[in-house]
């Protein structure tokens, strides 16, 4: 049988062993590697705090964006981060509905990745408002001027989509966490830990009456999160597709953005999973089969992204529109910053092709390098779409080249550090592999084996 040769779970651990192995990181002190990374990312988070404060006090003139490229790093980073989140929801919701057994050991940390990525994403539109203290103007509230948000615009759609996405992801994640928080409450040494985890576990005891509602709620939340995977980035893409800028005005944008989002998200899951499993010695639960499957998903979505590029180029040529032709065939490959365009092609079109090879898919080192290049490629894609289109709009007199400032680069680096900082805290304080689901899986596998032998 294939499952025996290529396991999703190595060995047949008992429930007690699984609990100890998967819950123990919560009360074991972090190693030296964890501490160094923690300090580095904490310093980066402080820098982010400083740069955000600087931007709020001085205004967004500190950034490189100006007319015509009014949307630059802020929106690139927003789209990039929110895209990364999509793989987490894909793994936790869609693969759950399809009953993919290999998702079990990676779903919780992928979902944590979603939450942390959306937190970074949310920062950018907020700061890009210029006067972030008026953010509540996005919401319909009765004010004395009797001015209301224009809900026919794509921007309020975006606010609704992103905040819904974050909230639903959080509820789904927390509900799945309850049985494991209860496990930590009952197993962790020390009264303080037991009290704190006990409060977060909300008194979960694993009663059959609670499980029956839990199962239904979890299943339906998975069903509700599934259309969000497809809708959030579609709405984000309408921010562009509804505009008339050459390079934006395209009907392929929603599916192409969704494919790109899942593509970059799977790359980020690989980027995080490989070092985490090496550092924490989890080769038995995150096996080569998981890496292989993640790489296959990356390859498939990467091909969808490449198809999106082909379509864009074909339509620009087929339309005969001189502005579209100029944008796609001259500005992007030969215009200012064209190196970013080639980085995009390298990361999103060429690198995924190496994943056809089974040897590379199962080699943690090469896969890690590929995932980094894909992350860079997807960031470049957003740069190409946003900045290059705005730099070369219709009127030649409006053409202007864009360059980021050190504040732009600092904030991007800062969000990377903040993201990793949150992820490190998560690895240390939350059971990052679902122990209760792993036990269920171990029993299922045992039953299957029994049925196969009978």
């Amino acid at each position: 049988m294939r499952a025996a040769a290529d396991p999703v779970l190595v060995g047949s651990p008992t429930d007690g062993e699984l609990s100890d192995r998967l819950l123990a990181p919560v009360w074991r002190a972090g190693g030296p590697g964890w501490k160094i990374l923690f300090l580095v990312t904490f310093a980066g988070t402080l820098m982010l705090g400083f740069l955000v404060s600087y931007t709020v006090v001085e205004g967004i003139g500190l950034w490189g964006n100006n007319i015509p490229a009014a949307w630059a790093f802020a929106i690139i980073n927003f789209v990039w981060w929110i895209g990364i989140g999509h793989a987490g929801t894909f793994i936790s919701a869609i693969l759950f509905l399809f009953e993919q057994k290999w998702r079990t050991s990676i779903n919780r940390f992928s979902e944590a990745m979603t939450l942390f990525a959306v937190m970074q994403a949310g920062l950018f539109p907020l700061l890009h408002l210029g006067r972030p203290w008026f953010f509540y103007w996005l919401f319909p509230y009765p004010d004395t001027m009797e001015v209301w948000p224009q809900v026919k615009s794509a921007l309020p759609w975006d606010a609704a989509a992103v905040s819904t996405y974050f909230t639903v992801s959080l509820l789904f994640w927390y509900l799945g966490l309850l049985p494991d928080l209860a496990g930590v409450r009952d197993r962790a040494p020390g009264k303080v830990r037991r009290v704190i985890y006990g409060i977060f576990a909300l008194g979960w005891r694993g009663s059959v009456r609670a499980w029956r509602h839990y199962r239904v709620a979890y299943l339906i939340l998975a069903g509700l999160a599934t259309p969000l995977v497809l809708s959030v980035h579609s709405v984000v893409s309408s921010d562009f597709a509804i505009g008339v800028v050459p390079g934006w005005h395209s009907t392929i944008f929603p599916p192409y953005f969704v494919a790109g989002a899942i593509f970059s998200g799977f790359a980020m899951v690989i980027t995080l999973a490989i070092p985490a499993r090496a550092a924490l010695g989890l080769h038995g639960v995150i096996t080569e089969r998981h890496l292989d499957n993640l790489a296959k998903m990356t390859l498939v979505t990467g091909l969808a992204v490449s198809y999106g590029y082909i379509c864009e180029y074909f339509i620009s040529w087929y339309s005969g529109d001189p502005f579209e032709l100029y944008q796609y065939w001259v500005a992007r490959p030969t215009g200012p910053g064209s190196v970013v365009f080639y980085l995009m092609i390298l990361g999103n079109v060429i690198v995924p092709q190496f994943l056809w090879s089974k040897r590379i898919r199962r080699n943690a080192k090469w896969l890690f390098i590929a995932s980094i290049l894909i992350n860079v490629g997807m960031w470049s894609e957003r740069f190409v779409i946003i900045v290059m289109s705005l730099e070369r709009e219709y009127l030649v007199s409006k053409w202007h080249d864009y360059a980021p400032t050190w504040v732009d680069l600092g904030i991007l680096t800062g969000t990377l550090c903040f993201f990793l900082f949150l992820f490190l805290l998560f690895l240390r304080f939350v059971p990052f592999i679902s122990a209760s689901e792993m036990k269920e899986l171990a029993h299922e596998l045992k039953e299957e084996e029994k049925a196969a032998n009978a």
């Binding site: 809900v151 309020p156 009952d186 909300l202 009663s207 709620a217 939340l221």
Partner: protein
Amino acid sequence: MRDGFLAELADRHALIAAASHMRALGYRQLDAFSPYPIIELEEAMGIRRSWLPWLILAGGIAGAATAYFFQWFLVAVLYPLNVGGRPAHMPAAFVPITFEMGVLFASFAAFFGALFFSRLPRLWDPVSDVDTFDRASLDGLWLRVGGDDPKFSAARTAQELRDVGALAVRRVGGRA
């Protein structure tokens, strides 16, 4: 079900067998605790399907309907803005927010409904005081018989639990 007995079982098959046996004997105040969901156990104990889905549906419909109404009220009644002669009431443009709010409120209904029906949060329960019951969230499987069950009798119930294979039988709460 504040008092009664807790019986520890060896594995899931023993727990399912014990639960259906006790039910066949006429006990109705039964509950079981396990570290992971066991669907066969729900069937053995005669627990019907959760009706949480209906609450979730209601939450979703209420969210979507409210969102649509609000959007129409804002841009068609309170603050109509003529952009290029497009109609004030524009259903296609209302789709994304209507959909998102439907999903959001359905999710609230799912999460808070599941907690409410499971009677959570409840940080303390009489079973928490039973020695070694804390293994229920790790690898322990327990069956509980409530002291308010009409069939309940301190001596006989404990014996019946031992007869169906309980490794240990412990008392919950004050009397019994």
